[in-house]
Amino acid sequence: MLNPMTSVKTAHIEPVPSGVPQSGIAVEHVERSFGEVHAVRDASFIAEPGTVTGLIGPNGSGKTTLMLMLASLLKPDVGSIRISGHDPVTETAAVRARLGWMPDVLGSWSSLSVRDTLIYTARMYAMDKTAAAARAAELITLVDLPELADSPTRVLSRGQKQRLSLARALVHEPDVLLLDEPASGLDPVARADLRILVRRLASEGKTLLVSSHVLSELDEMADGAVYISKGVTASAEALARSRASARPWRIRSSDVVALRAALVADGIDEEAIATDRTELLVALESESAASALLARLVGAGVPISTFAPAVGDLEHTFIDLSAEDSK
């Protein structure tokens, strides 16, 4: 399953060999403040090509500021950013040619049709008219907006605008994609389509950074995650601690009484067993502790129908780090 780690090829990893990576995203000790407000205080992470990395943090943690710096719109005060090996500050055009950005703000040229929006975007990437029209047609199919292709964008619903925004980010077939809250406003079917599309883009070798605070959604598509809180990305130690910390597991049985008895017999404090409707919640240290417990319960003849982590990996880490933060 998920491995919440990508964040952490930070300082203590061996100094990046022979300069900078030529692909993916590399961020080193980036800071950015607006006057007195330190929006991003120390962000470092690496996102590898062919992977989907989640960018996770509470509201106001600096996610969007970090995204804007990656998108070559904001200059970092300190630190370095490399997009496919290029610096957005000094090699802006090179970065923009390789970067697709889907903002969290859904703006569109309201009197232009979906098709014309994509054609104009393509032409802003210096494609000629024929190539732009062909690419627009491709993308309309890709994001499933054919019946609205020639309607003005102001008639689109939120979810449809979201899909248009994604198509716009893909116009020039970028190597690196930054998606800011891509699934908000999407219905479950569109959400599933988005997940499939995101995974396909990763399998084509693109680097994707997806920011969201809907963690279950990221759990479904991300290979790894970067945690950011109060402008600081989580360190490797913090993540390791979090992974080692106990997390609740959800156990369902047709015979709750027998299950509870078996758990107590296994040495779990009765106080520590929480009841959630017909299920019991038990804190366990690790995956291996969970496997061992499951084997013992089945061995003891308790009928088990569900045995799973109560919260997703990302959510667990997120909550754990947030709690650590507020201490």
Binding site: F34, G35, L68, M69, A71, S72, L73, L74, K75, P88, V89, T92, A93, R96, A97, L99, W101, P103, V105, L106, G107, S108, W109, S110, S111, L112, D116, Y120, T121, R123, M124, Y125, A126, S165, R168, H172
Partner: protein
């Protein structure tokens, strides 16, 4: 270079489609044409343009040109004053900035679009200008120069609007400030000129004498003691710079003047030009009026030269005025460029990038 201009072309075409080509804009243009039609017909009757071939048509022409300038400067701020910050509010600025379009292409494209939109009003007025020019038997140079200066002035207003929309965060403010700039140039310059001139009065001296005895030929043989008297005179000559910053003055001043046999201007623009140029002549030195010299026939006052001499001996104010306008437009566009350029180092308070 071609790559640069094809980028500008993309922005220009996008702006014209997105911002301008709307139903309300066509209605505005229709209302404008209707107004010009009414003005032309009424003026033709009022100035008796059909009867007297000279001044009627010339007057109609000058008035239509001024009317186009008035309406153009009233419409252009609304069309250009939110070009950049309006896009930011609509969430379409940042998505353009992450493409290969540079800030320069973006701003020039938006400026050209605002200018072309304002020029549409001039183009819509052309049939009326042609009519007035034919009726008034105007010279080609008058028509060409006045239309060019008008077009440039509309460009200046468009540039001011786009520039301020890049410098200010809120679209409403930048539109209002653009209107204030237009008002300052159209009305404020006249106020500054008048008040400034009147406030700084200097004392001038005038000398006059007259003959007391004449011989048979009417030549004075004895003159009175020269009388000196002092008076206060306004110093308009110090403020002519304010006057020539007025777009209406620039327009009149730029048009080459035709003179009649008395060296007087033949059209309305010429008279405006003469007034503007007379403001340059210092009044502080005073002048001698009817000075009597024994043995010489009395000369009428030589205080004023004729119109042609005044116009030809003074600085071409239109060039000074136009230069100030172009500098203003350039400075504001450059300011908008530096405020809008990305990756942004500094953001103004309370603004966001996307």
């Amino acid at each position: 270079m071609t790559a640069f201009f094809s980028g500008v072309g993309v922005i220009l075409s996008l702006e014209l489609r997105q911002r301008v080509r709307t139903v309300s804009w066509y209605i505005l243009l229709g209302v404008f044409v209707g107004l010009i039609l009414i003005v032309t017909v009424l003026l033709s009757f009022a100035l008796n343009g059909f009867g007297s071939p000279n001044d009627g048509g010339g007057g109609v022409y000058s008035t239509i040109i001024y009317f186009v300038l008035l309406l153009g400067t009233l419409v252009a701020p609304a069309l250009s004053g939110n070009a950049i910050n309006g896009d930011r509010d609509a969430g379409t600025l940042a998505t353009t900035q992450v493409t290969l379009i540079t800030t320069g292409q973006l701003i020039i494209g938006k400026f050209l679009s605002a200018w072309i939109t304002a020029l549409a009003f001039l183009i819509a007025a052309i049939p009326f200008l042609i009519y007035a020019a034919i009726v008034g038997q105007l010279r080609v140079s008058t028509i060409v120069v006045s239309v060019i200066v008008l077009a440039v002035e509309l460009g200046v207003v468009a540039a001011v609007g786009v520039g301020l929309s890049g410098l200010m965060t809120r679209p409403l403010f930048s539109i209002v400030v653009t209107y204030l700039v237009v008002a300052a140039l159209s009305v404020g310059t006249l106020i500054a000129f008048t008040l400034g001139g009147l406030a700084l009065q200097t004392t001038a001296k005038s000398v006059s004498s007259y003959g007391t005895e004449y011989n048979a030929d009417g030549i004075p043989t004895q003159c009175s003691t020269p009388e000196e008297y002092e008076y206060q005179t306004p110093r308009f000559d110090l403020f002519w710079g304010a006057l020539v910053a007025n777009p209406y003055v620039i327009l009149a001043d730029a048009v080459p003047t035709a003179y009649d046999q008395n060296d007087q201007p033949t059209d309305l623009f010429g008279y405006f030009k003469l007034s503007a140029r007379m403001a340059q002549v210092p009044q502080s030195a005073g002048y001698e009026s009817s000075v009597c010299v024994v043995g010489q026939p009395e000369q009428p006052s030589s205080g004023y030269s004729n119109a042609r001499d005044i116009i030809e001996s003074t600085t071409p104010g239109w060039a000074v005025g136009l230069a100030t306008h172009l500098v203003l437009a350039g400075v504001l566009l450059a300011g908008a460029w530096s405020r809008t350029t990305t990756p942004a180092a500094k953001l103004s308070r309370g603004s966001r990038i996307a």
